[in-house]
């Protein structure tokens, strides 16, 4: 194994590194752009002069951000939502994917259940009926309205199901012989060997909760309960409402809305926490983990 890599291999490595570096740069550009705007003077930002480097460097936006009670209040709601929501989602994914990962020979109604869930990936009732159901289940205006309606993410569940199926069958056959029930097989055998897939689905769940903004608008009755992305969405109104004339009152708020650097600083800071989650979860993407435990 210590032989020198061949010439073609070395060339591949160089090209591969170059290509991946290029893609990396593409991924980072928007963030550099946002960061530069937030660090520029407001007039330069309003004139659209800032590209990838601050123009008229200024930390004002971040000074003001420090005083933005709304930002931090929403950040806290988001953290609450992510922690609680991820716990609920992951638990449901585990206990739902596990039975459905059994072969049909062991679980007769598996296919019925699978389709019962799968259909919901394609059919939805739409905004109004969902709103009415949420309202009638009495969770309106509480954090549960952001968690329960999507508590079982079928897509993630199907993914987990597939990961579970790739676990060697011998493992739980051995456990069954030892007299272990399904619950024990799930918690003590399946989950420990599934860390990479748990990390993957956990990441998607966390990101999903973090990025969701529209349910905040729908189910929360006052802005102090908005999660961060909902709050941020109120700052950028790209799709303009169909107003056809500017009233003096609307005008007043336009005059005051010209804080582009502050808005951008909030968007940037709003993405920062979630950006840090992935590198943390990456340590579970370790090769051969499954195999190691199979050998024991």
């Amino acid at each position: 194994m210590l032989h020198k890599p061949s010439l073609s291999r070395r060339m591949f490595i160089v090209l591969n590194t170059l290509l991946l570096t290029l893609i990396t740069v593409l991924g980072i550009i928007p963030f550099v752009h946002l960061l530069s705007i937030s660090l520029s003077s407001n007039t330069a930002a309003m004139a659209g002069e800032v590209k990838l480097w601050p123009v008229g460097f200024s930390l004002d936006a971040y000074m003001f951000l420090g005083e933005k009670v709304e930002f931090f209040r929403s950040l806290w709601v988001s953290i609450e939502r992510v922690v609680l929501g991820t716990a609920v989602n992951m638990f449901l994914v585990f206990i739902t994917a596990f039975p459905l990962a059994r072969p049909n020979s062991q679980f007769k109604y598996r296919t019925v259940y699978v389709w019962f869930f799968a259909i919901t990936m394609f059919f939805g009732g739409g905004l109004i009926p969902t709103y009415i159901v949420v309202k009638n289940t009495g969770i309106m205006d509480s954090i549960w309205a952001l968690i329960l309606p999507g508590a079982l993410n079928v897509w993630n569940m199907v993914l987990m199901l597939n990961f579970f199926r790739s676990i060697p069958r011998e493992l739980d056959e051995a456990a069954t012989i030892d007299g272990a029930g399904y619950w024990r097989i799930l918690w003590q055998i399946y989950l420990p060997v599934s860390l990479p897939s748990i990390a993957t689905i956990g990441l998607f769940t966390i990101v999903g909760h973090w990025n969701a903004w529209f349910d905040g608008i729908l189910y929360m009755n006052s802005p102090d309960k908005y999660p961060l992305q909902t709050y941020l969405s109120t700052l950028i109104t790209a799709i303009n409402s169909q107003m056809s004339s500017m009233s003096p009152e609307q005008l007043k708020s336009m005059e005051n809305l010209s804080e582009k650097t502050l808005r951008t600083a909030q968007i940037f800071m709003g993405a920062l926490p979630i950006m840090l989650v992935y590198p943390f979860l990456q340590k579970y993407f370790v090769k051969g983990m499954t195999v190691g435990s199979v050998k024991e």
């Binding site: 007039t43 309003m46 004139a47 659209g48 002069e49 005083e67 933005k68 009670v69 709304e70 209040r73 007769k108 109604y109 019962f116 905004l127 109004i128 009926p129 709103y131 009415i132 159901v133 309202k135 009638n136 205006d141 608008i217 729908l218 009755n221 006052s222 802005p223 102090d224 109120t234 109104t237 790209a238 303009n240 409402s241 169909q242 107003m243 056809s244 004339s245 500017m246 009233s247 003096p248 009152e249 005008l251 007043k252 708020s253 336009m254 005059e255 005051n256 809305l257 010209s258």
Partner: protein
């Protein structure tokens, strides 16, 4: 075998049951919503005492919903939410009314959330409505008749406002002698189109402000070619335009008016002009449009319009204006307050002026709507104290008086646009203009006016004072100038608009009803057709495409809409 069958049955049964109960419970709830009242339960029966601002002996609870914008004033206490607005405490103290918000949501999402509230039958006592929702609720007989409450309780100021247009707006929102809505309307002339142009660029090039389209054409070309900002770079263009051709700003409404064409007031539908036979005709498809379109095409070719205007939304155009890349824009009185102020802050030399829109034969006539009413206030039929809504309007107007000024400061938690219902003086801008100018002429240092307009006038007066003394303690130079030049200057935004109003240089958009049924069905198609055709013509497609457009427009529903609009005009329009 048998057991599995039983199990199957049990399982299926339980699933069906669960599904059924889930559905039926939901069903019965939404079924009941039409009839039960969401409001009346907690009300205490209270005899309403007389007088526009008399205090209820027992607390009266009023529910509302609200679409709100962020508090404007930076001095507002940090983290304040609408339900903690100090206006509400003041209302409680003065009238013993407790306002409870069922929900509050940013303005942009209001329509969505309000539709959900309607669908789930959860409407508040006092409703702030757009015209469409107002009509829907009225037709479903869900609104209270406010005639009596208005007669009895409306304050003299409120009545004065409502009568200021001869009762026209009030009449629009009444039916069979019953008043179902109180409109908060504005002077329709606020929509008058003006031409904003950079005077410093004209001076640099030794040019005079234009009065005809021909002159405008020459000036616009010079703004492209002759380096009007004298920075030695070819970095300017003529006329600001964003991708939606008829919009609330940076569009071509006023441009077409210069060809005696009246396509739109800025919404996604055509304007309706009275034809020679007294019938309403759609301005969008009149032959005068063609001349305008071919000039736009030529402007595009010659770089007077930005090559990529079709990509730019209003924010992008504002960037160009701020950066000093463009020197001409069609628009309304308010431009100096935003976004021209940004340009002035960026470049102190920038000097924008307003002129009456040029036309093919000298100063032209702008299209003006018949009715400018953003919000209509109505009361849920089930509300026990409908007069409370009127009293709250009185209250808001009352709070504009001088004696409340010291208390009303934003740092005390007063956020005016978090209070509803707020009905304004429809002529507020004219009041501001005359009062501030009066005070300036008399060299006053303070506003002496003492009625409900005090606060409004005082705010603008302060801007102007700061502008004149060059003080930037409270706001930037651009903002002070914007406040002055939009509202107070003799030839500024409103100053010029009122001159045009006096000269009666306008054409009316006669239709102010809600979209007709064919409009709802086909309107988006017609709008797409228009946007596509017009944009393509401007980008270089043959001008005859316009004739094809007119034919398609008519057959795709336009003719039917014309019939419907004329039927409305004959039967329902207030004349």
């Amino acid at each position: 075998m048998k057991s599995s069958k039983t199990l199957k049955t049990i399982l299926l049964l339980s699933m069906v049951m669960a599904a059924f109960t889930a559905c039926s419970s939901k069903g019965s709830d939404s079924a009941s919503t039409g009839t039960t009242t969401p409001s009346g339960e907690t009300k205490t029966e209270t005899a309403a005492p007389e007088g526009p601002l008399s205090k209820y002996p027992e607390p009266v609870e009023v529910t509302e919903v609200m679409g709100f914008r962020p508090a404007e004033d930076p001095r507002t206490p940090k983290g304040l939410t609408p339900d903690k607005n100090a206006y509400l405490q003041q209302l409680k103290d003065m009238l013993n009314i407790d306002v409870k918000y069922k929900w509050t949501v940013p303005t942009d999402q209001f329509e969505q959330k309000f539709a959900l509230a309607m669908a789930s039958g959860d409407l508040p006592d006092i409703l702030e409505l757009g015209q469409k929702d107002y009509e829907k609720l009225r037709k479903q007989d869900m609104l209270a008749d406010l005639s009596e409450a208005y007669e009895k309780y409306a304050s003299p100021e409120l009545k004065k406002y409502m009568e200021s247009d001869g009762g026209f707006s009030m009449k629009v929102f009444s039916k069979d002698g019953k008043q179902y809505g109180i409109p908060s309307f504005e002077d329709p002339f606020l929509s008058t189109q003006l031409l904003w142009i950079r005077k410093d660029w004209l001076d640099n090039l030794k040019l005079q402000p234009p009065t005809t389209m021909e002159e405008l054409d020459k000036i616009a070309e010079a703004f492209v070619k002759n380096d009007p900002d004298q920075n030695g770079k070819d970095d300017t263009y003529g006329v600001a335009l964003q991708k939606t051709l008829f919009f609330w700003g940076f569009d071509v409404r006023g441009f077409f008016n210069g060809f005696n064409a009246y396509p739109s007031v800025g919404d996604a539908q055509t304007a309706w002009i009275k034809g020679n036979d007294g019938k309403l005709v759609p301005g969008l498809i009149q032959p005068e449009m063609k001349q305008g379109l071919s000039m736009l095409q030529s402007w595009y070719q010659r770089g007077i319009l930005n090559k990529e205007f079709a990509l730019k939304d209003e924010n992008k155009v504002v960037e160009d204006i701020t950066a000093g890349k463009v020197g001409i824009s069609y628009g309304e009185w308010w431009y100096p307050a935003w976004p021209l102020n940004l340009n002035v802050d960026k470049d102190p030399k920038a000097n924008w002026i307003a002129i009456q829109i040029p036309s093919i034969s000298g100063p032209g006539k702008s299209l003006v709507p018949k009715l400018r009413s953003g919000r209509i206030y109505a009361v849920n039929k089930n509300m026990k104290n409908p007069e409370a809504a009127i009293k709250m309007m009185n209250f808001y107007i009352e709070m504009g008086k001088k004696k409340y000024t010291d208390m009303l400061k934003p740092e005390n938690g007063f956020v005016y646009n978090w209070f509803s219902p707020r009905v304004y003086n429809p002529g507020q801008i004219e009041t501001i203009y005359t009062e501030v100018n009066k005070a300036l002429a008399a060299n006053q240092t303070e506003i002496t006016l003492d009625d409900e307009n005090y606060t409004l006038v005082k705010d603008v007066f302060n801007y102007v004072k700061d502008y004149q003394s060059g003080s930037t303690k409270i706001a930037s130079k651009g903002t002070n100038w914007g406040g002055y030049f939009s509202r107070v200057a003799e030839n500024g935004g409103w100053g010029l608009t009122r001159q045009i109003k006096e000269k009666q240089a306008f054409v009316s958009n006669e239709f102010y009803g809600i979209p007709t049924s064919t409009q709802v069905e086909k309107g988006s198609q017609l709008d797409k057709l228009m946007q596509e055709t017009f944009t393509k013509i401007i980008l270089g497609a043959p001008i005859d495409e316009f004739d094809k457009f007119v034919t398609s427009w008519k057959t795709l529903g336009g003719d039917k809409i014309t019939e419907e609009v004329n039927a409305w005009y004959n039967e329902q329009a207030v004349k």
